[in-house]
């Protein structure tokens, strides 16, 4: 057993193993949400968007042309080139809350910022395409209610009555491999309209949605000692040359041959 805490907390599993050349695997929920929502928007809006947005400067014929796993603030947009429309998903700058959920589980409550930015549009294009923003909000809400989207990941179930295979969206928001590991997820608010990356800067037409999630911790390592109960005996140990208090703990793993008790004078 390593020196690790040996816990999972949402999508984080300790000890962390080396995967690739970055640390994105420490918070996998962000990338999963980004790819999930992008796949859903592209799947649901592709045909309508391509027909309406074709030929408009700066816009691509794909509803989500660029994915950004970060807050789209001014500094970010000045350093990295974006294509439009752009979808950005990141934990919000609002503080996370940590509290005791049960006697043995703690909980982290986080806010997330989802930004779907069409780009800078003149009034004609704005009136032509702007309604996609409220549609995107409804699609993301439906994906959250559904727990996933077939365009992102699908799983095949068997219909109990007929035995026929049934393809469903894989549930990726809760616990499991390749999932977000959320305990709860919900939409706090969303707003559509003109937005700017800087005060007085160009207006970009965007949907900004705030999600709230909770993540619970749990013991992840089979080597971790699980106490099934404890018996504590106080009194003098007459076998010892200097009598003291004996404390014995009953655990799920065998105690060492010497009894495993701790004697404190």
């Amino acid at each position: 057993m390593s020196d690790s805490l040996a816990i999972t907390w949402g999508g984080l599993s300790l000890p962390a193993t080396a995967i690739g050349t970055d640390l994105a695997s420490l918070d996998p929920a962000r990338d999963i949400l980004l790819e999930l929502f992008a796949a859903a928007l592209n799947s649901e809006l592709q045909d309508a968007w391509a027909a309406a947005a074709g030929g408009i400067d700066l816009l691509t014929p794909i509803p989500v042309a660029h994915k950004l796993p970060a807050l789209p603030d001014l500094d970010t947009m000045r350093q990295a080139k974006a294509a439009w429309p752009m979808l950005a998903v990141a934990r919000s700058i609002e503080p996370n809350q940590e509290d005791e959920f049960t006697l043995w589980q703690n909980r982290i409550t986080s806010k997330w910022s989802i930004d779907y930015v069409l780009g800078p549009l003149e009034i004609g294009d704005q009136l032509k395409l702007g309604d996609v923003l409220i549609a995107a909000g409804k699609i993301i809400a439906a994906v959250i209610r559904n727990g996933g989207h077939k365009a992102y990941a699908a799983t095949t179930l068997v219909t109990p009555t007929t035995g026929d295979p049934l393809t469903c969206a894989k549930q990726v928001l809760g616990p499991g491999t390749g999932c977000c590991g959320f305990s709860t997820i919900g939409i706090s608010s969303f707003i559509c309209g003109a937005a700017a990356f800087s005060q007085g800067g160009p207006k970009y037409h965007a949907l900004t949605m705030t999600l709230q999630t909770t993540e619970l911790d749990s013991i992840s390592d089979a080597d971790a000692v699980l106490y099934t109960g404890a018996s504590i005996a106080f009194g003098e140990d007459l076998d010892q040359p200097e009598p003291g208090v004996v404390v014995n703990l009953d655990t799920a793993i065998p105690l060492p041959a010497d009894g495993g008790g701790e004697t404190t004078p």
Partner: protein, 150 residues
Amino acid sequence: MGTLRDALLPAINSIRAIPGLLGIRPYTVSILVGTSTGAYTGRGDRLVEQFPITEAGGQPPKVRQLNTEELALGNLGKGSLRIGPITPDFPGGGTSIERIKPCVAAGQTVHVMVTGPEYPNGARFLIKDVQTDHALHYMLTAEPVSEMGP
């Protein structure tokens, strides 16, 4: 027949190299274009291309640290720099606007790298503003990517 601007640019380019020849342009400036091999910016391996900004003979441009009044009026971060005048491109020399603000693909990054006495290992700046409204020079305003120390 060329314009007066066409005739002046090569001469101005050479004149702007004189301080560098005299050793009083201690900072060098480059544009860095970063490409990530992963799915998103910053993921996977990082490839960085460097494009120096120079005057005639490869001499560096003027780099000036902005004073507190300029920082406040320009809403600029501490440590911001003004780079230039940079001579626009002409046949045989100068710097094109595409070199200063390269047309990159989505997800690629663009930074200004400044190396000199205060940044011996080089420091990355983001492009805050490029002034292109003068016929004979460009001016580049760059802001530190992260907070500079006092």
